[in-house]
Amino acid sequence: AQSVSQHNHHVILSEAASLELGCNYSYGGTVNLFWYVQYPGQHLQLLLKYFSGDPLVKGIKGFEAEFIKSKFSFNLRKPSVQWSDTAEYFCAVNLGAGNNRKLIWGLGTSLAVNP
């Protein structure tokens, strides 16, 4: 069965540290890849997404992610985190053709950034 794995469940960093959150998926076909973020008390919102083209995608707030097809990975990175990046981060993969697009979600990574 298709699945999405996020390797880090809880990450604690100090401000200005670099961040990399792992995401791997198990599916051999064409995929669309997403990172969503949920800040404390707020809705889930899109951070960035990959559909085609340049495998290095840039998102909001200085985040980026690189799609490495050979590794089935879509890791999220930020060179220097801020306290305001404290949030829950979810990786998701979109399978299927046509309009029936269901996202398969990872379990999420809780990031705490200490000031």
Partner: protein
């Protein structure tokens, strides 16, 4: 409204009671999803509506769960004879129609936190 809205924001109920959760998607978004998020876990797909097509109910955990959608607007998720394991945040998301990349982004509501005592 500008975003997806859900009501109520919190619901506390007794085991065995029925509950109804409501979702108002963004206007023009023909696709609507319901998810369940248990504490400390990822999102669990429940059901998906796309226009007038038959809904994809493959994620509903039992026949106590059902959902309706009126045209391309409001949706209600009904849980009958609630159990304690139904306690979770129920999230609704909507997106534009079509299959191109730009329409695949799902926009989430704030969720309904359901507590079954």
């Amino acid at each position: 409204g500008a975003g997806v809205s859900q009501s109520p924001s919190n619901k506390v109920t007794e085991k065995g009671k029925d509950v109804e959760l409501r979702c108002d998607p963004i206007s023009g978004h023909t696709a609507l999803y319901w998810y369940r998020q248990r504490l400390g876990q990822g999102l669990e797909f429940l059901i998906y509506f796309q226009g007038n097509s038959a809904p994809d109910k493959s994620g509903l955990p039992s026949d106590r769960f059902s959902a309706e959608r009126t045209g391309e607007s409001v949706s209600t998720l009904t849980i009958q004879r609630t159990q304690q394991e139904d306690s979770a945040v129920y999230l609704c998301a909507s997106r534009l129609p079509g299959t191109s990349g730009n329409t695949d982004t799902q926009y989430f509501g704030p969720g309904t936190r359901l507590t079954v005592l």
